[in-house]
């Protein structure tokens, strides 16, 4: 049975391997290039300088320039990353959906299911094989992507929680890929024709991903808030710390929101007229502060775990439904 699965899908496996190698040929050199430039410019040290509570003004200038330079040079690279967002979907469409649908469309299920093996066993072995291969592939490109994207998230001050950057690295691609494959298989069992099965996979995957990303992900864990005094600040509090800022605003001393969605800072004293007070405090009153609602940066891997956990669980449900339904396929 495993032999049949391998023999039937070895061409697909070969294509996948070739595609992965081609991607590696593209990603490894660009990744190395980014890392070399990152090290050359001393960006790791720079980030430490810029993220300090009171940046050293002497070093902040050159460091900002170096970061900007790096960002200009490599920001377009993140477009390459988008490729990896669709990879799970492609695996689902071309590995998952045809698994049963193609068999039924070509009538070969009548051959396969009248041999000595019951179709439930047939389904378990096939689904298992494809799921395992999909996970292996996803591990390779998920972790590979984490390595590749690290300089970008670091230097370009791209938050690792940002929609694309969160989704294309770490362990989430494993969850997405397994889910896409399971959805494809399940769709193929319920609508055993290639086109409908692929359409359901496409729509279902994109729909659920968007829904969860927008509505659920920010609330996987209780949000934290913090108040940052405006008094005495030079620059606005940024996202450099890697926290995922969900909402922000300026509140007055009493805690009432006076300007949602904005942050303020006093700026350098030299830029003000002599004896002038901190402008935002003039505007919003003494004691006004920047308010942030956020998920702390150190929850990144926890969030990765939760997100992939959800998709793995959904995949398990879909596979269970598919195995249960397989005996009804005619």
């Amino acid at each position: 049975m495993i032999w049949l699965t391998w023999r039937q899908h070895r061409r697909q496996a070969l294509f996948t391997l070739v595609a992965l190698l081609a991607l590696a040929a593209l990603m490894i050199p660009t990744g190395l290039m980014m890392r070399a430039s990152y090290a050359d410019k001393g960006l790791a040290e720079c980030l430490r300088v810029l993220n300090a509570v009171q940046p050293d003004p002497g070093r902040a200038g050159p460091c900002s320039r170096a970061l900007n330079q790096f960002a200009d040079q490599f920001n377009s690279m993140s477009l390459l990353g988008v490729l990896f967002l669709v990879l799970p979907l492609i695996v689902g469409l071309f590995w998952g959906a045809p698994l049963v649908a193609r068999e039924v469309e070509q009538g070969t299920h009548r051959f396969a299911w009248t041999q000595g093996i019951g179709r439930r066993q047939w389904a378990l072995v096939k689904f298992g094989f494809v799921a395992v291969v999909a996970v292996l592939v996803a591990v390779v490109y998920g972790l590979g992507m984490s390595w590749w994207v690290a300089p970008l998230t670091g230097a370009a001050q791209q938050n690792r929680f940002d929609v694309f950057f969160f989704d294309m690295q770490g362990v989430t691609p494993i969850g997405y890929t397994l889910f896409a494959v399971a959805l494809g298989i399940c769709a193929g069992v319920y609508w055993p024709r290639m086109m409908p099965a692929m359409a359901v996979t496409l729509g279902g995957f994109i729909g659920l991903r968007i829904l969860l990303t927008v509505l659920a992900r920010p609330h996987y864990l209780p949000l934290e808030t913090r108040a940052i005094p405006i008094e005495g600040t030079i620059g606005e509090p940024g996202g450099a710390s890697g926290d995922w800022i969900i909402d922000k605003g300026i509140r007055d001393a009493g805690g009432t929101m006076v300007l949602p969605g904005a942050q303020a800072a006093c700026g350098a004293e030299s830029a003000r007229p002599a004896g002038g007070r901190c402008p935002p405090l003039e505007e919003f009153g003494e004691g006004a502060y920047n308010w942030q609602l956020f998920q702390p940066a150190d929850r990144f891997w926890l969030f990765q775990g939760i997100e992939s956990g959800i998709f793995v669980a959904l995949a398990a449900v879909l596979l269970y439904l598919a195995v249960r339904r397989i005996r009804r396929v005619a």
């Binding site: 051959f111 041999q115 093996i117 019951g118």
Partner: protein, 295 residues
């Protein structure tokens, strides 16, 4: 009498339409059974129900006493060649033989290889590139290699030219006569079955019209020619299957149960006469009103 396949009030429905209805049959073991009927009569449905591919919507079907649906235990007993002989087209014949060995506990690979070698099927060519006749032979060899107690073939010769058709049926007969395998073979062409089958089931419009041993069927029917007949009972005639009339004379196909009224001239009939009589009797499912043409 051992029974290979038994159905009772068996029915299968697709949506509102019954593809098979009220089907009660007993097929004894060791027979070559022909399943005949026009396209869409329900032949494939019956075969799929028999091998467990479909779940009955009414009644039951038993294969050597066991229900085949969702029951892998019956699989070793059946060899099934589906319509259009579906095989993995990118597999070579040799690989398919190997595959059968991995998917069946009882598997006579030597038998399959012997047959395929005899027929000159190239072992290293993907079966998708073989001719229709060769592919059908590969499918048959695979089904026979399971050494099944019941071999079911769904329109196995439909796509073959007349020569390949005869060769296929001959080789089929050659291989099952000694082993005592029961064969259920469907076709919409009577000529395919006439020479090979000793038992017959006629399906039409999703119902069984006629079933029985070929000799009995031929024996039980006669063609009667006599004065114009308007439906009154005739001595010695059980049922009138089909009647044709001219102004003065009627020609009947009838099942007889005794000595026929001497007013009628009695002729022997061939199997074909009998079957055509029953097929013509079945009403079509599509009516003229469905087509919006005057009746």
């Amino acid at each position: 009498m051992d029974v290979a396949l038994e159905t009772e009030q068996l029915g299968k429905r697709y949506g509102k339409r019954w593809a098979l209805q009220d089907c009660s049959l007993r097929l004894p073991t060791g027979r070559i059974v022909g399943l005949v009927g026009p396209n869409g009569a329900g032949k494939s449905t019956l075969l799929h129900l028999a091998v467990g591919l479909l779940r009955p919507d009414a009644g039951e079907v038993r294969l050597f006493g066991r229900s085949p649906y969702d029951n892998p235990a019956v699989l070793p007993d059946i060899g099934f060649v589906a319509q259009d002989t579906p095989l993995y087209r990118d597999f070579t014949a040799a690989e398919l033989v190997q595959l059968g060995g991995r998917m069946n506990r009882r598997w006579d690979a030597a038998l399959a290889r012997e047959r395929l070698a005899q027929l000159g099927i190239p072992p290293k060519l993907p079966v998708g590139r073989l001719s229709g006749g060769q592919r059908a032979q590969v499918a048959l060899a695979l089904a026979l290699a399971k050494r099944p107690r019941l071999l079911l073939l769904d329109e196995p010769v439909a796509s073959l030219d007349p020569l390949a058709r005869r060769e296929f049926l001959q080789s089929l007969m050659g291989s099952v006569t000694d082993s005592g395998t029961t064969v259920l073979l469907s076709s919409h062409l009577l000529a395919d079955l006439e020479r090979t089958c000793d038992h017959l089931v006629v399906l039409h419009s999703s119902r069984v019209r006629l079933a029985g041993a070929v000799d009995d069927l031929v024996d039980a029917h006669r063609q009667l020619v006599g004065p114009r007949h308007i439906g009154e009972p005739i001595a010695g005639v059980g049922t009138v299957v089909r009647a044709r009339h001219t102004d003065r004379q009627s020609t009947l196909l009838a099942r007889i149960d005794g000595v026929v009224d001497p007013e009628w001239t009695v002729h022997d009939v061939t199997l074909e006469d009998v079957i055509l009589g029953y097929l013509a009797d079945g009403e079509t499912t599509v009516t003229r009103t469905d087509w919006e043409v005057p009746a």
